[in-house]
Symmetry: C2
Subunit: 357 residues, 2 copies
């Protein structure tokens, strides 16, 4: 049904979509290419939250250069929207442009987007759906979870020694892995928010911003789990409270005098916290520790990035705190990727919850 050409063009659309990851949340990153006589004549992607959709950018890019799109084929990674949001419906623009055929990787799971496929078909446009659907879904995984489950996508990230310790007996945890730290900063760029416990803030005073990779944003939203308000008492001393990005603190008291970029919410249970993040429009959260936070959010994790450094620490801090599983307790994750650092002394194992593999 789909040709090698089709696959090639959709791959290009997916790679364009990826450029939006981390900048469009909680919108989906989407890419589009327009093809005439076997050649790409225009491209576009959703670049930032509130900006034009991929289809509109592809069409506008053509118009700017006076390129006529009559009779062409559009490849787009997500079903074009048929509603007025921050921008008018893409369907109308596609129809008006005279595009003859639209090939879509993945239907829009969002009911408010309207039925874009029917609208296009009623206008006489040939529509095909499902090309490289899984690859496209992977790029939009935050959005899909956010829309269909009304919860943010949760990624757990830990850096451990070979023997499962995230800190040595002195509590020191910098850097168990070093060369692969870039991957962590890429994860921070991709996710809309990062989360840590108050203990980690007080002990490590982390910045939790994006440093080792190029990024259009300085930091993700920072979420601090601080039921007792221990970091709130001294927030001016903590890097994490820097005004470079919004900070959300979950605490039992909400009446601390804090700056404008800090919001305090009363919630303690992981599910409550995740639901709150959803209502705040946060589609993805990278859980960075410590051990108690890992344990509490493990049941909600969609993906785990497990970094291991070639060290043996022995007595030290376990990755997880307060777990007692037997050997036949199902874990429910599956390895999707492994990576060995060039220095050959660190490795990464990426795992996804099985239902989503």
């Amino acid at each position: 049904m789909f040709t090698q050409q089709d696959i090639k063009f959709m791959k290009r659309a997916i790679s364009l979509a990826k450029r939006g990851i981390g900048y469009v949340n909680p919108n989906p990153p989407v890419g589009a290419v327009v093809v005439k006589d076997g050649m790409i004549i225009s491209e576009g992607y959703h670049e930032r939250y509130g900006g034009f959709h991929a289809e509109r950018n592809a069409i506008l890019n053509a118009r700017k250069r006076g390129v006529d799109l009559l009779g062409t084929t559009m490849y787009v990674t997500l079903e074009p929207c048929d509603h007025y949001g921050k921008t008018p419906p893409c369907t109308d623009l596609i129809i008006e442009t005279g595009i003859k055929r639209v090939i879509i990787a993945c239907r829009d799971p969002n009911p408010i987007s309207g039925d874009g496929i029917s609208k296009l078909q009623r206008a006489g446009i040939e529509v095909m759906v499902g090309l490289l659907e899984n690859e496209a879904k992977e790029v939009m995984k935050f959005f899909i979870k956010f829309i269909t489950k009304k919860l943010p996508y949760v990624t757990l990230k830990y850096a451990s020694s070979l023997d499962g310790k995230i800190a040595d007996f002195n509590g020191n945890s910098k850097w168990i892995t070093n060369e692969l730290r870039k991957v962590v900063h890429k994860l921070r760029r991709e996710h809309m928010a990062v989360m840590v416990g108050a203990g980690t803030v007080l002990k490590d005073n982390p910045q939790l911003n994006i440093r080792l990779v190029r990024s259009k944003k300085r930091a993700p939203i920072k979420i601090i789990l601080d039921w007792e308000g221990k970091t709130l008492d001294r927030c001016s001393e903590q890097n994490v409270y820097s005004p470079e990005s919004e900070v959300i603190v979950f605490s039992k008291r909400v009446d601390y005098p804090v700056k404008n970029h800090v919001r305090i919410v009363k919630a303690r249970e992981p599910i409550e916290i995740l639901k709150t993040l959803w209502t705040l429009g946060i589609d993805s959260v990278l859980v960075e520790g410590g051990a108690e936070v890992f344990t509490e959010f493990l049941p909600f994790a969609d993906e785990i990035y497990a970094f291991y450094g070639l060290k043996v620490l022995g007595d030290g801090r376990d990755i997880f705190a307060g777990i007692s599983n037997t050997i036949d307790t199902p874990f429910g994750f599956s390895i999707t990727k492994t990576l060995v650092a060039k220095n050959r002394s660190e490795f990464l194992v990426v795992m996804k919850r099985c239902s989503q593999v």
Copy 2:
């Protein structure tokens, strides 16, 4: 200096050598091919301890078929011996056969083998050395360690959960990894001996033999570290004492009444134990646990096979017992290989001591 043809033939010799791994100890596994006019006309390898060397087998295979080896080239993974051991010198046979050229991967580190290269050269044979030397050394790593360090090659093997536990809080450790167990049985086939502590014997009653892969031997030599003699009191109940292979027990008392295939030696310190194994002609030992044994033999390990199962056990038995390293303690190993099981829920990381990578 060496041609693509040369590399091809030496690769073949190395792959023949590998067939002897696990069956020739403490001799080196060696392979040889004889080439005439760009074609392999005979092959041989060292098949079992006490059997003919690779060169002799290659020459005899040709003679059996009436093939004349005059003017041919031999590719052999180790310098031919020039002494009378269990078999006469290979050098004499090569010279007598009229082979014109001998290409050798690796010089013999064993002084008692004599200077085979000079002997061949003095007889007018062209000799070249060093082709695929590292690959050949990897195949003979047990032999090289045994000869040059007067110690056996030590491989540590553990199977752990993601969080560094080799048993759950009940002490249960079967099977943290399942699909990759075949690799363990292959390691048992390759190594001359396996080693466990008395605690592991009493708790798991392991067989420590070779089951999941094809093997010409039923089991490696079994070494039990049992200073207190706890397994010796009830050895008839323990699988590990089966007469399928020799058993060596390190204990403070040596006067237990044991069967003929069991030998008791008084030694406690790891270095003493390893030196004893060397004097007994054991070139390689696979250390299979438990935690105390891993900790004691880690400083002597040449290689680590770290199996991880996708499980989180939390409270449970740590891989290593009684270690307290800081985060900047050097570990000195380097990753040489990673492997993900087909079921995607187990992985293996192989590490080698850096000086040997």
